[in-house]
Symmetry: C2
Subunit: 307 residues, 2 copies
Amino acid sequence: MSILVVGSVAFDSIATPSGRVEDILGGAATYFALAASYFTEVRIVAVVGDDFSAEHEKVLKDHKIDTRGIERAKGKTFRWGGQYLDNLNEAKTDFTELNVFEKFHPRIPKEYGDTDFLFLANIDPRLQATVRSEMKGVRLTGGDTMNFWIQGKPKELAETLKSVNVLLINDTEVKMLAGEKNLLRASQRVLAMGPQALVVKHGEYGATIFFREGAFGIGRHPFRAPALPIEEVQDPTGAGDSFAGGFMGYIASQGELNREVLKRALFYGGVMGSFAVERFGTERLQKLTREKIEERFQVFRELTHLE
Amino acid sequence: MSILVVGSVAFDSIATPSGRVEDILGGAATYFALAASYFTEVRIVAVVGDDFSAEHEKVLKDHKIDTRGIERAKGKTFRWGGQYLDNLNEAKTDFTELNVFEKFHPRIPKEYGDTDFLFLANIDPRLQATVRSEMKGVRLTGGDTMNFWIQGKPKELAETLKSVNVLLINDTEVKMLAGEKNLLRASQRVLAMGPQALVVKHGEYGATIFFREGAFGIGRHPFRAPALPIEEVQDPTGAGDSFAGGFMGYIASQGELNREVLKRALFYGGVMGSFAVERFGTERLQKLTREKIEERFQVFRELTHLE
């Protein structure tokens, strides 16, 4: 089934202990779309500037991603520069040039009206809410957010969360959103805000999915998927968005929405995140096969399952 | 089979957001012994002062722990005071009074000569090496250490590590010991120092066991066990030692030493650690049953295993 991602397309300049790149294709929607494209039909809504070339678009089209929702505005594409020289777990931002992204107002092409699944990447919660209200027919909506919106637009975010089925954020964000340091209690508070399931990403330690009682079937416990210990993390940029792409893409590829599907999706999220960080930018995500993904899924299983 | 733990017995004064206790029974050997006692026959070598009463000893004896190796010295028992008021993941030490522990020199009772398994809790690596050399007949030796020894006695520690089969330390310690920030590379370096297996404890995110190639059978991958998200961590003191007790105790209870046993042991480590933190000090560890342990083992399994 089809999935629509709404979010940023960007050009990133990144420095890590493994090297340095400039103006490479990035952005949450790009990572998400590429990761999800191995599982299902992907559509994208984003804005780019004059500097977004046919070659850039080809990266997406080569993965059969529907780019009709990419708006071309006058000006330059969103640019971000950051480094992970001291700490691979946290980006230090060098610069942010919003450019055409500053006035981004998502426009959903008519042809996207029949989309089955929706992912609201990390953008202004008011825009997320608008998109969500225009896509009433979707079977399930996933969403991301960040500290900036949690602190800056808490009311708007609360409104958006009411119509997000699965929220994917990290430890710091869930604790900040809930105003509670204990992960389990914080998760319960966030689930009370609207989502039926909450995926908490733990970086190099994997992720946990918490379910609201009765949501997606019966079960008493959360579920944890590991991350793969990786010998050389070349570039952590986009790991979370690739995780979301693997997670949502797998869900969209399944007929049913139940806990077992969401648990397996958590593994696929980890798998796609682990590929993403092995090379700079989207390089690794561009050259995968479903077979390689299944192989790594088996590694994740061996990593966690007793005989 | 029998296991001997050599380490500290202490009286702890602890403040956490859940409350405050003074001079309660603690120490690495105490937590380890209680946790391991649910799996196998436990022996202990430690030193206490005049203030260690028959009532304190009864806590151990009630769990059939052999206390003949507890030496009574003139003076006061080791005392530690700490708090976790701001951060449950890290103790802030208020005071350390080594007392009789300062001159601790482990004396192994003759009756312990036939011990099958050995655990060297976190003490001076020179003492660990001495004990290890006196217990040549054991089937497997586990060990712990800490930043203080890694930085202060690196040569002595390196000597000790040559004869430790399984080292159990946390992320920070493995990275410090290896002088390497990447967990996978750091683990490989530590394994090259002697141990056949390395257990890296990730606190609230569980633990990973890395194997030296060919050790304990064949397999390409490390293995990760989760920690249980807990609603109220009353007191994190002793979590790591309880983890080690569950891990080593389970191994000692099994006939074979292979990867599958060590993987299951990692789960039992997490289970015992999760019990320990639910109450202050050793309270929870004193009142368990094997049935409750198996129940929680199943929870850990549900937390991580796909259908």
